[in-house]
Symmetry: D2
Subunit: 354 residues, 4 copies
């Protein structure tokens, strides 16, 4: 890292910083400019967090040189990581589509949705049993009953199941049913929960927080990987901006950026990113064209009667049309959609936009 | 609420919306303009969340008329709520200062800090035993050992204890030691945790999320109150903005606004809001001048060696000077600082900026 | 519009609002709920701005029902508008690519760039003669000399010219050379300048402000159209968010949204939106897949020696590869790239994400 | 500045960067770490902008060490700058209040407002003759007629006049009437206009852009100073955030921060910052408690009939009460309000929050 001393820092203040760095095991290097003295320090980036150098007198700012994450970085693992859920490979060049209702509402609703999305080509069924709602008066999910229905839908369709885990205490229950554990956007920095899912032998779909930077998102992935679970799938789902016509602003650029900075697979959730079904197909195309490894799409047999997120849910017919579009864009990216594997190499190159 | 139909909505679409509203128990009212048909609906605001009207065809937008929160609103409870922690009253006109280190690091550090902040006039000791850190490689807190040290400091000084609870599973442990349970900014929408603290008989200090609106913040308070715990203290701690010289942007205006919209006490944490100790005293003065019921200030015996947040921690000397300033501003607001009660009435009036 | 009265509004206060509305020519309609009285007002939306109803006592909030823009709305003009610059049609189904250096630096640099982008399939040459720079010490552009070089490049290549006008006083000069006048992002709400370009018989490329909402952007277009110039091309170029790895966050979703709300053509500038050349091709593909009518791309013969925006400029080789990608995605959208026209109908349908 | 090379940068790439820096007149310094090679470069910060080093292959990022502004920095001018408008000193320890209507509407309205604010203790009259409005259909100001009325009000009351200049072409006209030229928030980065006001012998009140960082704001001041006009008054008027209950979020922390980074006087406009008159007095107190050198307050004889910004305008009665509050807070800061000078020293110390 680099420490910039303030223009009136005394020799003693500089000395104190040097000594502190050396005592912490950093190799230091002094460079005295006309207006500023600068100290370069080489050592274990992970120790930086606890040093509080900026609190030392005479220090103007501390500039980290390396990214704070290691295990999640492409430098650490140059090839693309492929995360598997049973026979479904995410990040292996083939595009996987996860689809289904926002919440599990009933046996009929879920099974109908499951058959419909499978028909259209989805390989993974989404559906919330535990729902984070901004109002305590809103439907909070069917909880365990919802998990049972998801398992039944898996039996009936062969689809894998991705569902959200909201809390460490209910993790064992959710993990007993899910094929992929979803960490919701609001929990991206729930470090307790991140540490817990790190101990479970299941892939984790980590949603980006509504106002998290890419670095903070990768640091959340680092928590899970540092805890021992390297099967992390990143999911861009829109960030909060001033634009209020859409629910969030889908950061499609995050796809090629994350593929460049990290080796983890990246999927996109245009339904939450936009909040209006009408614009979901266009952005599904855009996400795949930008190099996404998959999509997470809300589909409901009857959006107008959905207990949550109806406005952003596609009808089965619109979803089928979306899948047609996605197949055409995927082909253009030399990628397929669904189960079959393809050579990831070119896909990867495309991902960095070359 | 008001439903605005799109300019080309058909009579049948309007009919469908009216029927849906009536079936849900709303009293409806139709008003047909030249360019738009508008439906007014009167009924239980708390049912709005689950209706998904925006998903019905022909609906352009749904405009809620009432705030989504009830128990937290001043309309529901016109007088100021006073939350007590033992003999300390927060929101009763008297200004209470909570101070101490970011994290409990050691017996010596904590006891020294406790005596110093008590000396200067603080009535409540802050200190983290469980620390949410953005890096898995940073100091994560002393956990139970830290709680024991907080209890020892309470014994030694008579200060009350506020400390963060990060997870439902460790809640019983934290609640066994704390006088006030802190919900951190990143957990403001951890609804599982909110529901849990709602069941505990302890005051809850609810920090505003880094990019939460005031309405979302009050909805989080509503979660706790709806669950049965009305002893909520709101804490403004800075929101994320484009300004990067400061750690966050302290939204001081939120103080008079929340005092106007809600009856709950509001305190301000300038240390996290700014991230640089140098500017904390000026903003502590500003917060009290704007009508805050208290302050949360980071103080460390030796900031340069703090294991976290050193750069924003005041030395005991600077904290004592800050308390002098705060007393002078409080006096001007007809308020005192610390234990003794004063007539809240004028304080309240001042709070709404009159 | 709808006026929501506060829950304790008096009959006299309601009366006053009704009278004010009627005197301003609105047809009013009263609806008294249990907790709130609501007034619906039907009339000329454009008079709303000056009424200041929210300042009347007893008024809680005013909710506009209609968008504040008229001429720019699709309701006003259902078909897609096609803006022509000579024989180049923008918005007519065919995708047009505008490319060239950030700034005109020299005769050699500009002519080389012009030939290279024409070679690759661009139809319009971009290049700044007047440069808005955040530092007064940075290169401010060649001004009139730069305009002369642009004209020479047009002669030499047959490309049309788009260049920025920064100020009403230099408008006649710029208009004498440019085929398309560019309003920069920082000037999107420079209303003086908007009123001036409204009087010129040239197409205007209106960049979205870095933190403008879509509605504010369309209101800026409304200024130009209300002044008599309906040849407006909208350009999404990234909005400011917390993400700092990229220069801005490219709001690709704005493309289908604006195509839905407005009849004006929309193009995308991924170079400024991202700020790093490496990710520009992926986002150019995404923009076209989302339905953009064109692209604005920075290309420099030698980015490492560019006097501005080198980091986001493509080399001619990378630009040629990007154009290949763009042609493939355009074909998939049933659109072509460059001069020849195609049936706009399907293109339009695709644009709204169907 | 510091150049961080990517971890796989070749020796030749490092060499090329070194040569480029040396040729541009920088003294360079190489430091080779385990994972990264870092280059320190010492030289004229103002040349940095045009180098485009980040476009050179092998460069990961460029980190500036010094602030990009010079003339506006406190390092360049350690003492507080006092800007005078006739016999009124801004920044000299004494707090100056500028007040009046958003727009000049009529002779009666302006003269009435002028007498009322003077009565209450304001020394400078605000009022817009040229109005930047987001809608082309809103009142755009009385233009020259408005300037004449401002001059008449100055005659009648002895107040100085501050009014906005929107465009270089109308600058001579506005400058002929105004005592202080206001640059509106939306024009903060209208560099053409900044260069023009730099040539006029009048103080300039520079409003912070709605989403400008403090550094960008000081760079705008640098434009004016670099052009020869050092009489710049900075005005914080609220920044755009996600909070939508208030019009903007008033960044009160910017006051002590700017006083620390720069020598220029800083005033605060809570009326635009908040947008609701009810909260203006509380925030006026907060601004002065934080160290502001003055206030800009909207006052209208009849806010409910104001042609613009009625909802945020105070009645003369509320303004008089606000001035009482301000005097009390100012006294506590050892400052006075209005004409008479006091020793700036302690005021200055208070400003940096000591």
């Amino acid at each position: 890292m680099i420490i910039v001393m303030s223009h009136n820092a005394s020799a003693r203040e500089v000395e104190a910083v040097l000594k502190r760095l050396e005592n912490t095991g950093f190799k230091v290097h002094l460079s005295e400019g006309v207006e500023r003295t600068i100290i370069g320090a080489i050592g274990d980036r992970t120790r930086l967090g606890d040093m509080g150098l900026e609190a030392m007198s005479g220090v103007e700012k501390v500039v980290p040189v390396l990214q704070p994450y290691k295990l999640a970085s492409r430098a650490f693992h140059p090839g693309d990581t492929v995360v598997t859920a049973g026979n479904i490979a995410i990040g292996g060049g083939q595009i996987q589509v996860m689809a289904g209702p926002c919440a599990v509402e009933s046996r009929e609703q879920l099974l109908e949705a499951a058959h419909q999305v499978r028909e259209a080509g989805a390989t993974i069924l989404r559906g919330g049993a535990f729902k984070p709602r901004t109002s305590p008066y809103s439907f909070q999910g069917l909880e365990e009953k919802g998990l049972e229905l998801l398992a039944e839908a898996r039996e009936a369709t062969g689809l894998k199941i991705v569902t959200e885990v909201m809390d460490a205490r209910t993790l064992p229950l959710v993990a007993a049913y899910a094929d992929i554990l979803q960490i919701g956007a609001r929990n991206m920095q729930n470090f307790f929960l991140l540490r817990e899912v790190a101990t479970v032998d299941k892939p984790v779909l980590l949603k980006r927080g509504p106002s998290a930077t890419i670095e903070e998102w990768l640091m959340a992935a680092e928590y899970i990987m540092a805890g021992g679970n390297h099967r992390v799938i990143l999911c861009e789902r829109g960030i909060r901006t001033f634009e209020n016509y859409t629910r969030n602003t889908l950061d499609v650029t995050a796809v090629p950026v994350v593929k460049y900075l990290s080796h983890l697979p990246v999927i996109v959730d245009p339904s939450h990113g936009i909040g209006k079904w009408r614009f979901v197909p266009a952005m599904a195309r855009a996400a795949v064209a930008a190099g996404a490894d998959g999509l997470l799409i809300e589909v409901h047999p009857d959006p107008a009667h959905a207990l949550c997120d109806g406005p952003q849910s596609l009808t089965p017919e619109n979803f089928a049309a979306l899948m047609e579009d996605v197949r055409r864009v995927a082909a253009l990216m030399d990628r397929g959609v669904g189960r079959r594997e393809v050579c990831g190499a070119r896909g990867e190159n495309r991902n960095v936009g070359g």
